[in-house]
Amino acid sequence: MAGADAFFTADTALFLVQALGRTLLMTLIGCSIGLALGGALAVLRGSRAPWLAPARGLAALYIETFRRLPFLVILMLVLFCVQAFAPDLALIGVATIAVTLAASAYLSEIVRAGLESVPQAQRDSAAMLGLSWLDTLRLVMLPQAWGVILPPAAAFMVMFIKDTALASQIGVVELAFAGKILVNKGVSPVLGFGAVLILYALLSWPLGRAAKALETLLENRRGAAHHR
């Protein structure tokens, strides 16, 4: 096959593994920080203290903005901001910030839905017993909300692996871009993009399976809880 010699080399393998690493890095770091940030925003939006009202408004504005913007536009915005204020930051850093912004906005709504799924009566009980705000969140609300939060959050992360291909547009050599570079270098498109396809599958398949397993586990536990 044409270009096979150029493909089956240690350099190509290393090149693809590095690209895979960038895709993984952007997704994992962006979604992890995004989950933490999104969680904090969700908790803030669920607060009721009057003095937090302006912060609640800002959080809502942030979430609505980044949920409505296409990921490519977020990438460009971050790129231009970074170029203006921190021109030394690596492109992968720019892309990871963009992933964090998008993920935090989406995941925040998922966490919020999870927290809202816990009945108000549970909060009343915690208040009546004099539990602190943090204990109520940590020991009462979150343990009951995880079952609702985790499946869609995991599904979102698996989906977002594919969206990180857009980082190629600002020059991050992630998996999709790596395939294109290989083909431009003369590697057969079947081999080059075939490898990319397999690597994406290898990345998202186990994550998807893990999410599914988690969902089944939580569903069984909830199901068992409903039968006396």
């Binding site: 009566a121 009980s125 208040a127 009546m128 004099g130 020991l139 009951q144 006396r228």
Partner: protein, 245 residues
């Protein structure tokens, strides 16, 4: 001096007041039962006392000292002295019976874990659940859950216990076991404010019965008099309606 004094308490949203100037007192050891039609403000009164629903006006005094519901520390102090059992039990679904009972003493009162657990076991044994310590709420019957909720409230060692229709959500066969638990409690001399529709029980256990309607206290009296010879026409009508059933 009265342990608990409620003075001209009002609550509600907009044009529809739920509490319309309620005044009540309870001395230490009193068991006060609130009766009256649904929507008369009985449960709201308990929620306002706990600071779960805001009051619009009036005062609550503990040992003659007004409670400042706007202050977090005051609210925390209040909740160490007064606690509540809900109609729907509201146990923490993610915790075993024992964990439900031990959580607040450890986290809110700072009781050492081992001590809280020993006390939790004792309390659950007292409400007849020694064999169910490690079961989750969903694995327990309604009556068992309600008894866990009572044990959980007692773990706070409150001076005053508020019971909000604790048997209304239960299977008829389970009502007795919860009433037995409350009866045992009454014998310990704890002060209780009870909202209940179990009239025979109210009559038997109360030191005073308070008739409420439309967010007001209509009448207060000893149980025998309230059930047989109430003074107010509204109470008379209520009693007639109950007896017909």
């Amino acid at each position: 001096m009265a342990l608990l004094t409620i003075a001209d308490l009002t609550a509600g949203y907009g044009g529809a007041p739920i509490l319309n100037g309620v005044s009540l007192t309870a001395a230490r050891g009193d068991i006060i039962s609130l009766i009256g039609p649904s929507g008369s403000g009985k449960s709201t009164l308990l929620r306002v006392l706990m600071g779960l629903t805001p009051a619009n006006g009036g005062q609550v005094l503990l040992d003659g000292v007004a409670v400042d519901y706007a202050s977090k520390p005051a609210l925390t102090a209040l909740r160490r002295r007064m606690t509540m059992v809900f109609q729907q039990y509201n146990l923490f679904q993610n915790m075993t019976a024992l964990a439900n009972v031990c959580l607040a003493p450890v986290r809110a009162l700072g009781v050492p874990e081992a001590q809280a657990e020993a006390r939790g076991r004792e309390l659950l044994a007292r409400v007849g659940l020694a064999d169910h310590l490690h079961k989750y709420p969903a694995q327990l019957s309604g009556g068992q859950q309600q008894r866990v909720a009572i044990a959980r409230a007692l773990a706070m060692q409150p001076d005053i216990l508020l019971l909000d229709e604790v048997t209304s959500a239960l299977d008829p066969e389970r009502v007795g076991e919860v009433l037995d638990t409350v009866r045992d409690l009454a014998a310990t001399g704890i002060t209780m404010v009870i909202v209940s529709h179990e009239m025979a029980f109210v009559r038997e256990i109360s030191s005073a019965v308070v008739m409420m309607d439309a967010g007001r206290v209509i009448e207060r009296g000893p149980p025998a008099a309230m059930f047989t010879t109430p003074a107010q026409p509204r109470t008379q009508a209520f009693m007639r309606a109950i007896i017909r059933h």
